[in-house]
């Protein structure tokens, strides 16, 4: 996965929070995605302005003790979201 890509959330999703976890449902795609605490954090950081490398950098800074696993964790979760089509990867920050 190209870490310079910017994860962009599909619009018009429903989101429900349960403590630290979330479920996202997209009515057009009829897809539901469960994200555990880590996944929920990554979701929050996918704000359409940060690229994947920046998301990894922020998490490494916040959780230096988990540095070894953060990159692969972020890539796995974003890949899962891309596969479910709830996230697309833009080459650059989209114009708003």
């Amino acid at each position: 996965m190209n870490l310079n890509r910017v994860p962009v959330l599909e619009a018009d999703y429903y989101l429900e929070r349960f403590d630290d976890e979330i479920t996202v449902y997209h009515p057009t795609l009829t897809t539901a995605v469960y994200l555990n605490e880590t996944g929920a954090l990554i979701w929050e950081l996918c704000d359409g302005t940060r690229n994947i490398a920046e998301i990894i950098g922020l998490l490494e800074e916040a959780y230096p003790e988990n540095r070894d696993q953060i990159q692969s964790g972020v890539v796995d979760i974003i890949a899962q979201l891309v596969e479910k089509k709830i996230v697309t990867l833009a080459e650059q920050v989209p114009d708003v």
């Binding site: 429903y14 429900e16 349960f18 976890e21 009515p27 009829t30 995605v33 469960y34 994200l35």
Partner: protein, 285 residues
């Protein structure tokens, strides 16, 4: 023409038929959903006997839906059509693809897509002195003061699951159709649930426990707690009328998941299931 009314979740469907064989067939399929005559029906299906008197045509709106003997395949078509109709029209709540039983006084719901082992586990639970409600569909009204509706139909057993059922029933003549109270063939069987469930009592109670079956050949039994967030994702996959509902029923599913314990049951056989289930029911007491 005589009429047989099928009622589910406030909707009425009418079957018109002419002879005793069709009447018996409908009585087997819809014994527990048999309604009373209504002024208007959402859908009318017609059974017409063909010139070859062994065969019947199923008609709806002038269209021929199926022709054949009143066998397992015909029953499957009738169920498909009826269920599709209800799913297509129901708007006041969630229709969930699920089995359901009453276990120690509480409704246990087993949502799952085809191939997840929902019917096998439901059938096993009946053998574990649970009372059968459905192996196919549950309707949970958005207004939770309204009764839950269980699509109580005969057990529709695929050929591959018949050995499990025979073991549970402990009956040598399970597939003996000479009494005309059941249908069996090379593609499975339609068996009255009262064969296993003589004390059947319908209930309006909503589920108090969700078990998500996950059959995996060769797997050991694992029962794991499902968090509310994960439960919503799993349940949305089984919400078969979501497109009819405001917000696709997501809020209702979230509300259910917040308030009802949920577990995932990974199994490759039923070894140890009785002990695990007893513990689970105790925990959720």
């Amino acid at each position: 023409m005589s009429e047989f009314i099928v009622t589910f979740a406030g909707g009425d469907i009418c079957f018109q038929y002419q002879d005793e064989a069709a009447a018996s067939f409908l009585a087997l399929l819809f014994a527990d959903l048999h309604g009373t005559t209504a002024a208007e029906y959402e859908k009318v299906f017609v059974f017409v006997q063909t010139r070859d008197s062994e065969q019947y045509c199923l008609l709806c709106d002038g269209e021929e839906l199926f022709t054949g003997q009143l066998d397992v395949a015909f029953a499957a078509t009738v169920f498909d059509r009826v269920i599709f109709h209800f799913l297509d029209t129901k708007k006041g709540g969630l229709a969930i693809h699920a089995g359901a039983v009453i276990c120690q006084g509480k409704v246990v719901m087993l949502p799952g897509q085809s191939g997840f082992g929902k019917s096998s586990l439901t059938t096993w639970l009946i053998g574990y002195s649970c009372s059968y409600l459905t192996d196919e569909l549950v309707f949970l009204p958005e207004d939770n003061s309204q009764p839950a509706c269980y699509f109580t139909r005969p057990l529709c057993i695929k050929t591959g699951s018949l050995p499990v059922v025979e073991e549970i029933a402990d009956q040598d003549d399970l597939l003996d159709t000479s009494g005309h109270d059941r249908i069996a063939g090379s593609n499975g069987a339609v068996l009255p649930h009262r064969l296993f469930n003589p004390d059947y009592t319908p209930t309006p109670d909503p589920p108090e426990l969700f078990l998500f079956p996950a059959y995996q050949a060769g797997a050991s039994l694992v029962i794991e707690k499902v968090s509310s967030a994960r439960g919503v994702a799993l349940l949305m996959e089984c919400a078969v009328n979501a497109r009819n509902l405001s917000g696709h029923g997501f809020q209702q599913v979230a509300e259910i998941a917040r308030n009802t314990p949920m577990y995932r049951v990974v199994y490759g056989s039923f070894a140890g299931m009785d002990v695990a289930l007893a513990e689970l029911l105790e925990i959720t007491e």
